[in-house]
Amino acid sequence: MSATGIAVAMLQVVLTIAAAPLLVGMMRLVRARLEGRVGAPIRQPWRDLRKLLRKERMVSANTGWVFSIAPLVLLASAALVAGIVPFLSTRSALDQVGDLFAVVYLLLLGTVFLSLAGLDAGTAFGGMGASREMTIAAIAEPTVLVAIFALSVSTGSSNLGAIVAATLAHPSTAASPESLLAFAALAVVTIAETGRIPVDNPATHLELTMIHEAMILEYSGPDLAMVELAAHLRLVVFLGLLANLFVPWGIATTVQPLHLAAAAAAVAIKLVALAATIAAIEVFIAKVRLFRVPELLAASFVLAFLAVTASFFLA
């Protein structure tokens, strides 16, 4: 673990945190424009966070220490993942610390703490959100791990740096059936795990349909700021994983500042393109019923499963 490696990891974390609210603001703006509204400026999520950080912290009388530490764990796990995922360079110091499995389970750690916080609030909404969130997380898990299986068969490793390096070395693998199928599977899971339409609606406060918002109803002030920032960060992490695992070009394989800057520009372009696509698609589709979500995830599981069989047998 070299000093430059640590520096790269820190840089990734800082840049991702800075960019995440902007990306969310961009998605809201795209959506607003497509719906014929003017929409808030791109930096509105940052303004919201700043405002929340200055507000006072109100904590319900029913809650305990789990409620207080949950935002911290949620944010910390997302930030740590932002340091592991190769956004800028394959030479991040955290690459050997955790592989794709560790990334998935770290994100699950955040989900678990947020669900516990939802239960700790003691309201019907908190429990409802927690229960639904864990349901979706649990049945999304096979898709994710089987997709990772498919990715690691062709490269022989589940380490993110190794997968990215293998794709860079053999560009043709990016268009092979197994990567396309794995990409599709992970895309569905990304939508489910980040609470986008058609699984959850990030803009809703309609009691019976919300999932993520139901868990965080009791948060206010700086706690809410942390939860919101973590949600933005998770979105960027998932999109960044999708972008750089399957289309890694532009990523730096060194730690020279010039290469890193170029990599930052490349990943920014990829993220904006992905996010704009998602926002645009969301305008045209409706949220599905909660009990149809398993069908969606079963379909994504099948895609991941086919990716594994393809990589096993076509290789």
């Binding site: 059936p177 079963a298 379909a299 086919l306």
Partner: protein, 219 residues
């Protein structure tokens, strides 16, 4: 066309044939299923087209174009007409639920891979390695026939089964003689017409094509 590009295009086209058969299990609207079957026909034609180009067999290219027209446009078009003509509900009714059907189809895919392993081991051409996909499509077509309740869906299942057979043929033999392909296609066309006539008669007589109700014909 160089080797890598050929392998990839072939794999993607053949993979699309398989993915569309999963999509046919997943979708709920009859019209959407018919459209997916059309995509499957086009993907099947693309497989033949790619092989024909790679091996410089003009005959196969010609066959592929015909297959594309027949299975991508004509047959699905007939099915769509049958769906639209029916005044019954246009939703899929199945004996097992969607996730279960998808998991069962995944299992069938594994079985197809395991069963064709020895055949695949005989040769190392990319065509033969993709052979299990065709077998899997056949099995999934049969699953569709077995588990769905509407006669229209049974017709689609037959078409999918036939697509699978055609895929196996394209991959297993390098280039199908035109006559064979024409013969099969006309067989399917004939079957389609028969089924078409049958369904319309069933519908006229009994007011629906739910197969479970056909049981009563036994007595």
């Amino acid at each position: 066309m160089n080797d890598t590009a050929f392998v990839q295009l072939l794999d993607i086209a053949a993979g699309l044939v398989l993915v569309t058969s999963f999509a046919a299990l997943w979708l709920r609207r009859l019209v959407a299923v018919a459209r997916v079957i059309a995509v499957q026909g086009v993907a099947l034609a693309a497989v033949a087209f790619v092989i024909g180009l790679y091996e410089h067999e003009n005959e196969l290219v010609a066959v592929s174009l015909m297959v594309g027209a027949l299975r991508g446009v004509v047959l699905p078009g007939l099915i769509l007409r049958a769906v639209r003509a029916g005044d019954e509900r246009r939703e899929v009714e199945s004996l097992i639920n969607v996730p279960a059907a998808l998991l069962a189809a995944s299992g069938l895919t594994l079985i197809a891979y395991a069963a064709t392993r020895d055949v695949v081991a005989l040769s190392s051409t990319p065509q033969v390695r993709a052979l299990p996909l065709g077998v899997a499509v056949m099995l999934i077509g049969m699953l569709l026939i077995v588990t769905r309740r509407k006669a229209v869906l049974q017709i689609m299942g037959v078409l999918m089964l036939d697509n699978g057979i055609a895929l196996v043929m394209f991959l297993g033999t390098s280039g199908v003689p035109l006559a064979v392909e024409l013969g099969i296609a006309s067989d399917v066309l004939l079957a389609m017409f028969i089924l078409q006539v049958l369904t319309s008669r069933i519908r006229n007589k009994f007011g629906g094509t739910d197969l479970d109700q056909l049981r009563e014909l036994r007595d």
